[in-house]
């Protein structure tokens, strides 16, 4: 369960970093192209970082391997004074293991191996959180920004960047054209030669905080999936 927790914490850190935009710095050194867009995106992330300190939410993290639930954790998440997330475990339900000794042993080893793999993956995923303004600008400068029409008839901006962290990776950021808030993130990259995809769908509270409501990390070659659902995002009393 230790590795399972580290996996969950790592994934949570990843999604939270996307949400609050750690270490946001000035973007004056950015290239002129898409600079306006980058500045607006950074401004929104700063607002969200400030708002996140006033909110708490529940996070349900489900780890699946070969379609079987390995672990389900539900945590109460809030943002500390330093901006770092603070988690309180509400429930942890590990997946069942086989009853027979040898099968149980094999399943435990398999689970540990998978959790170790995903723990290391966290380090890579963190690089895709665009943790600094420089990273945001670096991404948006080379990204192709294309306006698209949403089904509701609004304008969305879809920024597609390649080779942001690793050669050949793809980072697609979809923003609301009116507010520049994040609506969706899609990342396709590789880790130890295995294709990895991450998809996050965002929503905005009535108070204006934008956070990832659903997040899915998939490693098809390992038949592993991490699903995160953040819900009940409410202001702190």
């Amino acid at each position: 369960m230790k590795t399972s927790r580290s996996l969950v914490l790592g994934t949570l850190a990843f999604t939270l970093a996307i949400m609050v935009g750690w270490n946001v710095v000035d973007a004056r050194q950015a290239a002129p192209q898409n600079e306006s867009l980058a500045n607006r995106v950074l401004a929104v992330r700063q607002q969200d970082a400030a708002l996140a300190k006033q909110y708490s939410w529940n996070s349900r993290v489900e780890l699946l391997h070969k379609g079987t639930v390995q672990d389900i954790r539900i945590e109460l998440v809030s943002t500390g004074a330093t901006g770092a997330p603070e988690r309180t475990l509400l429930n942890d339900t590990p997946g069942a293991l086989p009853h027979r000794f040898l099968r149980k042993l094999a399943a435990e080893n398999q689970r540990k191996e998978l959790e170790g793999y995903l723990e290391n993956l966290h380090d890579l995923a963190e690089q895709y959180t665009l943790p600094s303004a420089g990273k945001v600008l670096e991404y948006l400068v080379q990204a192709k920004v294309q306006p698209i029409r949403s089904p509701a008839g609004n304008t969305l901006l879809q920024a597609t960047g390649n080779s942001l962290v690793l050669p050949g990776d793809t980072f697609v950021l979809t923003l609301d054209g009116a507010t520049f808030r994040t609506r969706r993130v899609e990342i396709a990259t590789t880790y130890q030669g295995d294709p990895v995809t991450l998809t996050a769908t965002y929503t905005t509270t009535k108070g204006g905080l934008t956070y990832p409501q659903y997040c899915t990390v998939e490693v098809p070659s390992k038949e592993a999936t991490v699903m995160i659902h953040n819900f009940d995002c409410v202001p702190n009393d």
């Binding site: 867009l37 306006p147 008839g153 304008t155 009116a178 507010t179």
Partner: protein, 239 residues
């Protein structure tokens, strides 16, 4: 004396011989019940009586199917017979479920054929027709005191005549009046330069000219800008 006895005996015998054919009538009644091959049960009761030169018969039959449907019928008739022929006139009535039927039948012996007529409350009264047939058979045997079990006669196959389809041709469209050809939709009028929109028209194309990205819709060129209220598209001259 002996002659007197003989004469008296012959007188009595002759009288009896003369009276008997008229005064000695006959009569009987019978009832029976049973079950059918496919379930259900039936019962019949009838009585007949007759005398010299004439007879009468009445009876009733009821049948209850295995599904609980009850069919009942009654018939009565009278006839005469004698040398050279016989006649029978009868009537029947009954009910089959919620259908009813009635009719009459005649049988004329050697003088002709009997044709039953009957009317029913609705279609599907095969049982009524069967009963009518039974009445005729009963008339033929005249003095038969018993009636046979119901005889089922299915209606003859119907003849279906397909109605001739009727086609209604649409009203002829009047030929367009001679004149100028229809005017095609007018091409999109270019928006004035400097105008702004927040949403591009559907079907716009992205065109990159000298490193700058433009959006072309119809004959209007747009360039994306970022404002305080979000992204907007500025109408620009064709690059």
């Amino acid at each position: 004396m002996l002659n007197k006895k003989i004469a008296c005996t012959l007188m009595v015998a002759g009288t009896l011989a003369a009276i008997a054919p008229q005064a000695m009538g006959w009569g009987c009644s019978r009832s029976f019940s049973g079950g059918g091959r496919y379930g259900g049960s039936f019962s019949h009761s009838g009585s007949s009586s007759g005398g010299y030169g004439g007879f009468s018969h009445s009876g009733s039959t009821s049948y209850t199917s295995r599904y609980g449907h009850t069919y009942s019928g009654s018939h009565s008739g009278s006839g005469t017979y004698g040398y050279g022929g016989a006649s029978y006139h009868g009537s029947y009535s009954g009910s089959a479920g919620y259908h009813s039927y009635s009719g009459s039948a005649s049988y004329c012996g050697y003088h002709g054929c009997a044709y039953p007529t009957y009317s029913t409350g609705c279609y599907g009264s095969g049982f009524g027709a069967g009963l009518a047939t039974g009445a005729i058979v009963g008339a033929a045997v005249a003095s038969s005191a018993h009636a046979a079990a119901p005889v089922y006669v299915y209606p003859a196959s119907g003849v279906y005549v397909q109605p001739t389809p009727v086609y209604t041709a649409p009203a002829a469209t009047p030929a367009p009046a001679a004149g100028p050809a229809p005017v095609p939709p007018s091409p999109e009028v270019a928006l004035p330069t400097g105008a702004t929109v927040t949403v591009l028209p559907p079907g716009f194309a992205t065109v990159t000219v000298k490193g700058t990205q433009y959006y072309l819709s119809g004959v209007t060129w747009y360039r994306m800008e970022y404002g305080a209220n979000g992204v907007y598209f500025l109408v620009v001259p064709a690059p």
